[in-house]
């Protein structure tokens, strides 16, 4: 009797397991590739004023596959990150290391917000994360990619509270520019920070598209980003205050980290022993 009960339970457990397993998975939406003339006209108009057009990057540069191994030039409706990478190598390589791009690097389907553990907007759940998800390659306007693109998907308190911050007030002045200036603070300023890379004798300012790089440990963001404008103590007291991070730095920090008292005491001792 007992044995029969055990064997029935094992069978039931296996059947339930099989049923649960078969429901995991998702369906990739099919793309409709043909577009209206109006869309072509609009894209052409945006492109004409862009840095792409003025650097002789034409439609075929991205929408035509002319790789050495293909015999004929084929039309590409949706150029992928490899197309962008042929010019923007550093940008794509760093993108592929962060959460946004890592699935592509590892040969998986593109990231969709539905896969995220952070809260994401329901209507954005099926968006596929590639370069063009955040960047309009025709307008080449990175002001949009710096805040609006992020808020298309991200729905957590820190992201939503950005609009109430002093940082966002500064960014409002950049709305009419083609790219954020050096005096405003957007989502990208902290999470996709600009960094200077040595190139021969000169240096070039590029964007680190690895969105995970400045997240942890938090002091990495302090040096890379905060201390461009703020003092070290103000920066540390802000970034280690979880409530202030969630409120997206809507007020000066109230935290006072003991580290600074320790270093001050050490400094006083050094000065005292120096004067003796």
């Amino acid at each position: 009797m007992n044995r029969r009960l055990i064997s029935s339970l094992i069978t039931l457990w296996l059947l339930l397991g099989l049923m649960a397993g078969s429901t995991v998975g998702w369906v990739t939406p099919a793309w409709g590739d043909a577009v209206d003339q109006a869309v072509v006209d609009e894209s052409t108009q945006l492109w004409q004023g862009s840095a792409h057009a003025l650097n002789d990057v034409n439609c075929s540069s991205c929408h035509q596959n002319d790789a050495a191994d293909s015999a004929t030039k084929t039309f590409v409706a949706h150029p992928d990150q490899e197309s962008c990478r042929s010019c923007h190598e550093q940008a794509v390589d760093t993108f592929l290391l962060g959460k946004h791009g890592i699935r592509l690097r590892e040969g998986e389907t593109p990231l969709t917000p539905a896969l995220a553990r952070l809260p994401m907007k329901a209507e954005a759940h099926d968006l596929q994360m590639t370069c063009a998800t955040c960047h309009d390659a025709h307008a080449v306007n990175t002001v949009q990619a710096a805040v609006d693109s992020c808020l298309t998907c991200h729905n957590d308190s820190h992201s939503l509270n950005y609009e109430n911050s002093r940082h966002a007030e500064l960014f409002a002045a950049d709305r009419t520019l083609p790219r954020p200036s050096g005096s405003s603070v957007s989502c990208a300023t902290c999470h996709l920070p600009r960094h200077e890379l040595k190139k021969g004798d000169s240096s070039i300012t590029l964007v680190n598209n690895n969105n995970t790089y400045t997240l942890l440990p938090r002091d990495r963001m302090v040096k890379e980003v905060c201390m461009n404008c703020h003092g070290v103590e103000y920066s540390y007291n802000s970034i280690f205050d979880d409530d202030l991070v969630e409120a997206n730095f809507d007020q000066p920090p109230s935290l006072s980290l003991e580290t600074f008292d320790l270093v001050r005491t050490l400094e006083e001792k050094r000065t005292d022993s120096g004067s003796e």
């Binding site: 002789d56 890592i102 002091d219 103590e233």
Partner: protein, 215 residues
């Protein structure tokens, strides 16, 4: 058919422990094969994947080569930038003053502290937060007066120390920048300058292709 003869065969005799175990084995093998074939590799995960890696947790080959231990090279292929100046790297333990400490903890193997699919305390570290005490116990027990009586698990969880990268959190760095005002005199982020080669845009070189959809 045996059942239609109705004499010697009773279907209830099939429900016994032996049959159940055989069925369980067949079902488990079938399940694993189906998981492989249908690319549902989540079933092979031995535990929850960390927040940094869960997005590609079904790409086993990203980190695993068969059943071999995960190598440092695998980690570094993505985390090179984070380890650019590793204060607990190979260079430190080549120094005879610290080389002996490797007997306490295999500090040159990433997976010693950063295992995966197990419980993490923070920053992808699965060891107990007092892991620094393996070598630095003296610091809270009299060797450093300012740290006397500090808790054993606070070194990194309180945000004061970083195992790999000291650049922006060392005493030297803080001393150098101590007493700065909340807003620095010059507040400027790096500017991006984009140069253009042409005065006006060229004529678009594709048109009809977009209407047809292409490949």
């Amino acid at each position: 058919m045996a059942a239609s003869e109705g004499r010697s065969f009773d279907w209830r005799s099939l429900i016994n422990l032996k049959t159940a175990i055989i069925f369980a084995c067949i079902a488990l093998i079938g399940w694993f094969v189906a998981a492989f074939a249908l690319d549902h590799k989540q079933v092979f995960l031995p535990g929850e994947t960390s927040v940094g890696h869960y997005l590609f947790e079904t790409s086993c080959a990203s980190c695993h080569e068969g059943f071999k231990p995960v190598s440092n090279d695998t980690c570094i292929s993505c985390h090179e930038a984070e380890l650019a100046e590793d204060t607990h790297g190979t260079k430190k333990f080549l120094d005879p003053r610290w080389a002996g400490d490797l007997a306490n903890i295999e500090a040159l193997t990433c997976t010693t502290c950063h295992n995966e699919h197990v419980h993490m305390f923070d920053r992808g570290v699965h060891l107990q937060p007092d892991l620094c005490m393996v070598c630095h116990e003296g610091i809270i027990n009299g060797d450093l007066k300012s740290h006397d009586g500090f808790t054993a698990d606070g070194c990194w969880t309180a945000g004061c120390h970083n195992y790999h990268d000291h650049r922006s959190i060392s005493t030297g760095f803080i001393r150098q920048n101590l007493d700065q005002p909340p807003m620095l005199p010059v507040q400027i982020l790096p500017e991006r300058t984009v140069v253009t080669a042409l005065e006006t845009a060229p004529s678009p070189d594709l048109g009809q292709e977009f209407l047809g959809g292409g490949t």
